[in-house]
Symmetry: C2
Subunit: 204 residues, 2 copies
């Protein structure tokens, strides 16, 4: 039995993340005590701090799993996007946003974003930024794909446009998670309206 050590490590890591995910969902991020997470994961408090720099990082680890699913869903849209530029962009954005609340509550998103802003250089702060960059890249890829399909003008800079669309969506998503009463539908409608001028300008 080689690498018993590595196996234990993986086990403990998983147990910590799962315990935290359940507690966060049940009592919220602030309500979850590290000591209780440790108890549920059958690990000591110190061990949690051996795996994660602080409480926020445990949450960002959960976010990271969620975003990976979002990225996978995004890939499927890009593989076969609607011909119409506006519809294609709407489809990608709707996919991102509808997937975003499957595992995470608005409160969890708020905490995760706050942590990644507060500590951009911590391991998970970096991981979070990397995920954001991947999502932005995916948005740029969609624009390029639309250019290849002949539905978007070839002369526009796909990267700039993709970043602009992604940043706007991201900022609107932040507003969305800050407002407990805002619905996904309202969010999507608002973003669609904001994008309209630009999508008309890049459509062929």
């Amino acid at each position: 039995m080689t690498n018993l050590r590595a196996k234990h490590k993986q086990d403990r890591n998983l147990r910590i993340v799962e315990a935290a995910a359940e507690l966060f969902r049940r009592v919220g991020y602030e309500g979850a005590r590290i000591e209780e997470i440790a108890g549920m994961a059958e690990v000591s408090v110190g061990t949690i701090y051996n795996y994660f720099q602080n409480k926020g990082e445990v949450l960002v680890a959960i976010v990271s799993m969620e975003v990976h699913e979002v990225l996978a869903a995004g890939l499927r849209i890009i593989a076969k996007p609607p011909k119409n530029v506006g519809k294609a962009i709407d489809a990608l954005i709707a996919t991102y946003i509808e997937h975003s609340l499957v595992y995470l509550s608005k409160e969890m998103w708020r905490q995760a974003m706050a942590t990644s802003t507060q500590q951009p250089d911590s391991p998970f702060g970096k991981a979070y930024s990397a995920l954001d960059r991947e999502l932005a890249n995916q948005t740029c890829s969609l624009i390029m794909k639309l250019q290849q399909q002949g539905s978007a003008r070839g002369e526009i800079d796909a990267r700039s446009v993709g970043e602009l669309l992604f940043n706007n969506m991201n900022m609107m998503f932040i507003e969305f998670i800050k407002r407990e009463d805002m619905t996904i539908k309202e969010l999507l409608t608002a973003i669609h309206r904001q994008n309209r001028t630009l999508t008309l300008a890049i459509a062929k």
Copy 2:
């Protein structure tokens, strides 16, 4: 001597904010102990918590002063914007961003943004959102002004375009404060590039 109570209140509030501002600047947000802020302000720890819900809110109060200055500077640009659409937008954005680091360090911005995301419903969380909205409105106003001046197409939706431009800038600003090595110049160049397709589309 009527309203001695109100006067004391105002005095203490000011002393707390000024003490905090100095300490934050000198030792950073994390390094500033509430007890020391209290000492400098000649107030007890409890009193600080009577005026502010928590440490983060003290910082957001400082940010709020800074943003009010930014808004005033923005007004001056809108009063007499460059004729060229691209130049006008660049000018407004440059004004915002160059003013943003006068009193606040990147670290202070990170903390303030984190707090306002974490606690959107606290008094200062709301104040922060309101300021953001005012800035967005100002950006929309610039677009409308450009339409009136005849430099931007009349048929575009100024509000949508303004929000899109502002949200992109805001998101880029967040990236900027997360990266200690990124310069204002780099930031402005990146935003300019992202805006180009849209500004070309709305220019007459």
